[in-house]
Amino acid sequence: MNNDLATRRDQAALSQADLAAEVDVSRQTINAIERGRYDPSLELAFDLAAYFDCAIEDIFDPEG
């Protein structure tokens, strides 16, 4: 599943560790999501969307 998490994180001037701490996961998990190697749970997807104040489908593209 494609996502633009890295772009959004860069725009917010956050490190992977900063974002990880905001949504209570490890930095490795954020890295894995950005690289498309891990699809987050619905709960984490909601947390990320809430953090960036957008909808889940704005970050994640299920067609990717």
Binding site: A20, A21, D24, V25, S26, Q28, T29, A32, Y38, P40, S41, E43, L44
Partner: protein, 137 residues
Amino acid sequence: MTPEHPIQRGQRYNRIIMAVFAVGILAFFAGMVLDRTVVGLVIYAVACLGGVVALVFLQFASSVELGDERDRRLHNRTSGAVIHLFGFVGLPAVIGLYLLDAFTAYTIGPTVWGAIYAYAALFLTWGAIYAVYRYRT
């Protein structure tokens, strides 16, 4: 200094406990190689039992989380893969042993019987825990 996030603390504790297990296992084999079996065994027992106690404490009696959702998913996938491996490879092997024994081509010895019982116990345990999860959720 940036305060340590609970996830990072859990990861650190997890790494320490895994290192303790590794030391115990290395001591066990080093003891055998160096002909200090009892010393190695004592270090192994202390390290591994200490590791288990620490894991149980952190898991059930503390607020520390040893991993996040990705770690849990990795654990689940690994456990599933191991069960599949044991099922797909082990079951034909056990059936083969039964057939060989039945046709007197091979006699199953006590050690192999022990392995078969352990194999059966693994799947019985899996089934029991699966049933608990299946009907409680």
